[in-house]
């Protein structure tokens, strides 16, 4: 086992990864606050939410549109149990109870969504999770007792811990980076763990796994729980990033943005969502120079359509195809293709 673990890390860490890691760590030193906070930290956060979707979709075969709903739920919980300036709730719980508790109940919330969604399969999952996402959106908008309706909560900010104000761009960036990196490696490592392999087996052939004595539903619900931890943590960070949360932050358009990010980046590997998030955030901020800002959705929708048409594996898939072509030009044998997973009935 020890040996396996060492091998795993040796496989994962090459020169490219080290350069990338150094770049990410040094990033705030050579960019402005805007690039650190609005581009860097925001990409990492969206990437983390999309990572929770990639984990479910890539390893579990369950495309859930409710990941942002889980993140939004976590944000609302932070506003309700923590501090906000809306004058509704704001129970001011201390941070070391608040954050773990919120992440835990968000994960439970995600498991609940999973328990509803796993009764069906494939495209039905998309429909049901979308229905859940939209229903939650309308619920928060209608309900004033718990969620303060249309206005939501404002003035939600991270506390100063260890004398550092975590809302400042540079500390916030490093906090985000450490969270994103932790979950990235956790997902990468988890995909080789017993549970990860079981989940992938369930994705490929639920019927056979059922016959082997595994509880398919329980495995799937637990995957939702784990993805809820990721999405919930990202949700806590997102509400601190925005300083506010309202039904608009968990609307369908935003939920679909998360799907767009994950699909555009690539659903096969954990790095995909982060690539997608960077592309998305850059487009969102700089498409204004190319076209009318109002038409951003047309651009992003167009990019999404193009990717779905050209490469089902997203930008990662395009990259891999290009690399395969170059290696063939270099007269080395083409990489061995892993066989496609057997389609379940």
């Amino acid at each position: 086992m020890e040996n396996n673990t060492q091998n795993f890390w040796r496989q994962q860490v090459g020169p490219v990864q080290i350069i990338l890691g150094v770049f990410l760590l040094a990033y705030p030193f050579f960019t402005s606050d805007f690039f650190t906070f609005q581009i860097g930290a925001y990409s990492l956060l969206l990437g983390t939410v999309a990572l929770s979707l990639m984990m479910l979709a890539g390893y579990g075969g369950m495309v859930s549109l409710a990941q942002l709903t889980v993140a939004g739920f976590a944000g609302y919980m932070i506003a309700i149990f923590g501090t906000n300036s809306a004058g509704v709730h704001g129970l001011d719980w201390p941070i070391w109870i608040l954050v773990p508790l919120v992440i835990f109940i968000s994960a439970l919330f995600s498991a609940l969504i999973g328990a509803i969604a796993v009764r069906t399969e494939g495209i039905y999952t998309i429909m049901i999770t979308l229905a859940i996402a939209v229903a939650f959106f309308y619920f928060t908008r209608q309900n004033y007792e718990l969620f303060n309706g249309f206005n939501g909560f404002a003035g939600v900010s991270p506390p100063s811990v260890f004398g550092v104000s975590w809302r400042d761009p540079v500390p916030f960036y490093y906090l985000t980076l450490s969270i994103a990196a932790t979950f990235y490696f956790a997902v990468l490592y988890g995909s080789r763990s017993t549970f990860g392999l079981t989940l992938q087996a369930v994705r490929d052939n639920p019927r056979r796994m059922n016959a082997l004595g595994y509880s398919v539903a329980a495995i799937r619900v637990f995957a939702y729980f784990l993805s809820g931890i990721i999405a919930g943590t990202a949700g806590v960070m997102l509400v601190w990033f925005n300083g506010r949360i309202s039904p608009g932050s968990i609307g369908v358009d935003v939920a679909i943005d998360i799907l767009v990010i994950a699909v555009v980046g690539g659903l096969k590997r954990p790095i995909g969502p982060f690539i997608g998030a960077i592309a998305f955030v850059l487009l969102e901020n700089f498409a204004i120079d190319l076209i009318d800002r109002e038409r951003f959705n047309t651009v992003i929708g167009g990019v999404f359509l193009l990717i779905v048409f050209l490469s089902p594996d997203g930008m990662l898939g395009i990259w891999e195809r290009l690399r395969a072509r170059f290696t063939r030009l270099g007269k080395t044998p083409p990489p061995v293709k892993t066989p496609e997973p057997e389609k379940a009935e």
Binding site: I116, I132, F139, F304
Partner: protein
């Protein structure tokens, strides 16, 4: 009907009592204790009628959605966009010609073409890849929503239906007795009654088409076994295009009807996509009868929720969905 009575005597009896109770509640003059218990009769009857007529609209939207799904296993996430586009096109044509019915017809025909184009240009290329098809429809809905926003801006559009559809009709239902002894009769918007009639008409037409025509027979065969239908020499692509045309056309039709009853504005696409999703999840994918039952349940739940539990209205809809999923994951009328 008789079969049901014999097979499930208790359930049918309960059902009949329930129906009799509701009919009684509608026509009887409410005594004071009942008004004290659940509020004024006018609110109740209005809510009931709003729910039923809204169900008519939901059925119009969801029937196309479920028809397309049943045959092609294609979850068309752009169905809401088609509804909205139908509404806008209908509005433009109605304004141009001055005739509301031209708008209705034009939006039906225009959306039929949109549907055929989508089937021919997009879905045919990725036959059998459900997930990719769904993702493509999501992409289309993003772009469509944005382009429609660019074209028709964020304004709310209100149709002007013909005179005889406008205004209210007096129904032979007494809501209260004045102290002078005069009965107060219920007035209800004519257009909402028209909406319900249109939905029933479309439902019957669809039923006749699917069950009594040769093409309908082919479609039903395709729902059960697509490959077998193709093997028996039917041009499946033609059938697919036709079904998609009808489904999209119905969405456009519903856009004008729903837009007249309520209004047309950006964001409605999501609302009706959600309505269609929940209706077919509850009713069962691919079943027209299921869509009717689902629409009735969801329409009533939504209106009663709004009237009696304003801040928790959505939850009722949601609980129905979860309850159905828990008991029958394939939906009330769905085939497993």
């Amino acid at each position: 009907m008789r079969g049901l009575l014999e097979k499930r005597p208790l359930a049918s009896l309960m059902g009949l009592i329930g129906i009799a109770l509701v009919v009684g509640l509608i026509f009887a003059v409410w005594p004071d204790w009942l008004v004290d218990a659940i509020g004024r009769k006018k609110v109740f009857v209005n809510t009931l009628f709003n729910g039923i007529t809204l169900a008519g609209l939901y059925f119009l939207v969801a029937s196309g959605f479920t028809l397309v799904f049943g045959l092609m296993r294609n979850v068309n996430m752009a169905h809401g966009s088609m509804y909205l586009l139908g509404g806008y096109i209908g509005y433009e044509v109605a304004e141009l010609t001055g005739n509301w019915f031209f708008g209705l017809g034009a939006s039906f025909v225009a959306l039929m073409f949109v549907g055929v184009a989508m089937q021919m240009l997009v879905f045919r290329r990725m036959q059998g890849d459900d997930l990719r098809q769904t993702l493509v429809t999501i992409g289309i809905s993003i772009v469509a929503a944005d382009l429609m926003l660019a074209m028709w801006t964020g304004n709310t559009y209100q149709f002007s239906p013909p005179e005889w559809l406008y205004g209210a009709t007096q129904l032979p239902i007494i809501t209260a007795i004045r102290s002078s002894g005069d009965a107060v009769f219920l007035k209800y918007p004519t257009f909402r009654i028209f909406m319900l009639v249109a939905a029933i008409f479309v439902g019957l037409a669809l039923w006749l088409f699917l069950n009594r025509s040769k093409i309908g027979m082919m479609i039903r065969a395709g729902v059960d076994d697509r490959d077998m239908l193709a093997a028996s020499g039917v041009n499946v692509q033609l059938i697919f295009a036709l079904v998609f045309a009808i489904g999209a056309g119905l969405a456009g039709f519903a856009g004008v009807v729903g837009g007249t009853a309520l209004s047309i504005s950006p964001g409605e696409d999501i609302r009706y996509l959600l309505a269609s999703l929940v209706v077919v999840i509850v009713g069962g994918m691919g079943s027209i009868t299921g869509a009717a039952i689902g629409a009735l349940l969801i329409g009533l739940a939504e209106q009663f929720g709004l009237a009696y539990f304003p801040t928790y209205g959505v939850v009722i809809t949601f609980i129905i969905m979860i309850a159905v999923l828990a008991v029958r994951p394939q939906g009330l009328m769905g085939k497993s």
